[in-house]
Amino acid sequence: MPFAALARLLQRVRVMSATMVLKGTYKGVLKISLLLVATYLVAHALASFLPAADYRALPFLGNRVAVWIVAELHLMFAAFVLGVPIFAFITEIVGVATKERRYDELAREFTKLLAMAYTLTAVLGCTLLVLLLVLYPKFTAYLEKLFKPTWILYVTLVFGEVIVAYLYWFTWDALQGARKKWHLALGFLVNLFGTALLFIADIWVTFMMSPAGIDEAGNLVSLWKAISNFTWMPINVHRLLANVAFGGAIVAAYAAVRFLNAATEVEKARFDWMGYVGSFITIAAFIPLPFAGYWLGREIYQFSEQMGVSMMGGSFAWLWILQAMLIGSLFFAANFYLWLGMGRIPGAERYVKFQVPMMLVLALGFVVWATPRSIIATGPEMSAMGGSHHPFLGLFGVMAAKNTAVNLMILTTFISFMLYRRGNRVPAVPWARAGKIAQAAAVALAAAIVLGYGVYSYYVPSNVRIGFSVYQVLAVLGAMAVFTAIDIPMLKGARQIGAIQWGMIPARAQYALFFLAITFTWLMGLMGYIRSGIRQYWHVYGRVADESAHAYTMTHGHATLIVSAIVVIFFLMVALVFAMAARYERGRVPEAA
């Protein structure tokens, strides 16, 4: 009886009212129970009522677009409800470690957004399930049978997640002080359940991309092999990092709205700081994301050279140019926000001189990264260029140049952040000069390695070249690790030039935070399309063909319009979550008073 034990525990630690906490939690359980029952009944009724078919057609939107929109919205909300608890948990730990109350309040503020977001995630997930069962009955039944044990585990974990998440929220005030460790334990459990849920959902998605563990007729041979397919772990890691970055970006956007609407200087200072923490976590999780992406790409090539080439050099090649534009924009926005933020840090004017060179590196990196390789040229164009690629610009369209560019952009953003961090501090340790020289040397060495391998890449075959990206990544990560390892002890006991003037940041910095959130969301939508689209006319790549009328790859223009529509709908729903959170806050005022 784990819950009865929990009730007794809550009584023992004299929580203000165990009954109230359990009542609140039970509301969440009841909500999920009713949703699941309704989903089952609706799907069952529709499947019984409609004539048997392998595919059924949805009027107006069509099957694929309807499933696409609902699945992507579900995924975005799922990313939010998995990312925010990680964010809150880290912030809460920082609060305990630094004994600063504001971190605890910040974590609480984030967690407040979760209840409504959970409901929307569940509603979207249930809608998706109904759509799949009704519109793609044969294929859904196939997947359902293949992964039968995982469905029940998934539902069980959903209940587990809901229970601990509600307990985490409702016990916030009661489990303070000496009882804080119990609250942290709950926070850890929320994230454990959330990560397990993500990993299970990824099984189904990655199996469709890189099937394993089935025979040629599609029958299950090994469940574990089907689970641990080529792309499962890379996508788990990629999504986990992206969820944290995404959760941070949305929270930063929330803080930006509240900042712009703040009535007092105190409120402005509070939401400015919240926006900073949100953007910091976004950037911190965003920096290793391209590396996780490389790993995923490599596994896709390992699984199927054909799929890899379709993705990078075939039908989807042009979308990577769009992706480069989006990620380049994210780097610009993140640096822009940091540079504007330096305006409220006394002493940070010492580092303004670095902004122009850093801007140049970012701009050049952006241009190189967004240079297309395979442009479909006309005959006269080809004869003018002397071949299918431009004699000079063609050099920048290849991965050798692009990997170099993105690694330098990551390194630049990291330096930008480290300068921001030491804006108002002057190291007091006697070895400060040597430390700074060592830091500069680490960065210079990493940049030289990245550039060196970038140039050398042009002189070796592609199968050798692809291995160089690992050395470039390791050089950048190594420099970041060395820089941070020196920075932490160097700034210990540092002299402060002045306190950060929270709230004294221009409004356009808040728009940079909006921009980060919007661009990140659009990027998620685009990458989701590429990941799913590279299966082309297969439900399960190479095994179960998509024989529906929608088994074609649509034009890039059409796809980007759908991604845009999804992003707009998502932000309207997020606005609803924010409004509900604000309403809840207003409702709490008399109680607090």
């Binding site: 009730a7 661009t519 790549y541 074609y552």
Partner: protein, 296 residues
């Protein structure tokens, strides 16, 4: 608040509109699944080569690595020269046999300077039939200016690879003992009637009823009551549909293994149990907490 919200919303729309617009500037094309072509033993050589070219460009995915024009990919050998060098690749192996082997078993002979990376054309994800592989050989012969000598045999024209749930029907019928009494395509027992073509005269709903209710009807010439009354009920509902879908395929009909009834009724029961369990435990915890609260 509404002013801030409207400004933020307008900003979001502007950013999204820019990205959507850039999407419209990219080259626009649709890619459709390869059209299924029928190859028979009588398909003329010229048509076979034509089908081969379409397979090479589409379903076969050959141009991902090879090239047939000057501007193609060079991950694999240039296919324009394939025929001219094929005869001399392996002593004693004809050009036609070598080309076919390089499709069916690409690692049997690796051209110097190229890595091991090509999957067999007969296996996933390419999944060609042997006839389709021969059509590609026909195209390669015509591409190299040689005479098309490859011949498609009736045995090469295998049915499309099985895909999806309904193809488990045969395995399930054997697993649940149906074939112990019934003959299907010449295999099985003779206690019950041959059911190879039973779906030609019976509707899927009738067959489903017969499985769970053997007394529903009896084929003339066979004794009633022999089929165990509880046998069919032991077969999960979804799997009964799969057996019927397989029988329908044998009779040249199509029947979706899902649809009329939910295939996940057993899952439904399990789902209900999980929901019940969590609700019951939570209610119990509430009751215990409430009782504790009343204690002095």
């Amino acid at each position: 608040m509404s002013g801030t919200f409207l400004r933020a919303f307008a900003f979001m729309l502007a950013v999204v509109a820019v990205y959507a617009y850039v999407g419209q500037l990219l080259p626009q094309f649709e890619e459709h699944p390869p059209v299924k072509k029928t190859i028979t033993a009588e398909t003329p050589n010229a048509e076979l080569a034509q089908i081969g070219e379409e397979l090479l460009r589409g379903k076969g995915g050959c141009l991902v690595c090879h090239k047939v024009t000057e501007a193609g990919n060079v991950r694999g050998p240039d296919l324009r020269k394939a025929v001219s060098v094929a005869a001399s690749r392996k002593p004693g192996v004809s050009a036609e046999a070598y080309l076919l082997e390089s499709l069916v078993d690409p690692e049997a002979y690796l051209v110097s300077g190229f890595p091991k990376m090509m999957p067999s054309a007969l296996k996933p994800p390419v999944n060609l039939s042997l006839a389709e592989a021969k059509a590609i050989v026909a195209y390669l012969q015509s591409l190299g200016g040689a005479e098309v000598t490859v011949k498609v045999q009736a045995a090469d024209i295998a049915a499309a690879k099985p895909a999806g749930a309904q193809h488990r029907g045969k395995t399930l019928a054997a697993q649940y003992g149906c074939l112990a009494c019934h003959k299907v395509e010449g295999e099985g027992g003779a206690i019950g009637p041959d059911i190879t073509k039973v779906a030609a005269t019976r509707e899927p709903a009738e067959l489903l009823r017969k499985i769970v209710e053997p007394s529903a009807w009896t084929t003339p010439g066979f004794q009633a009551g022999v089929m165990p009354a509880d046998l069919g009920r032991a077969i999960p509902e979804g799997e009964r549909h799969e057996i019927v879908a397989w029988l329908a395929t044998l009779a040249g009909k199509s029947y979706s293994a899902t649809g009329a009834a939910s295939p996940w009724s057993h899952e439904g029961v399990r789902l209900g149990l999980v929901i019940f369990l969590f609700n019951a435990v939570m209610l119990l915890a509430l009751a215990i907490a409430g009782r504790g609260g009343r204690a002095p």
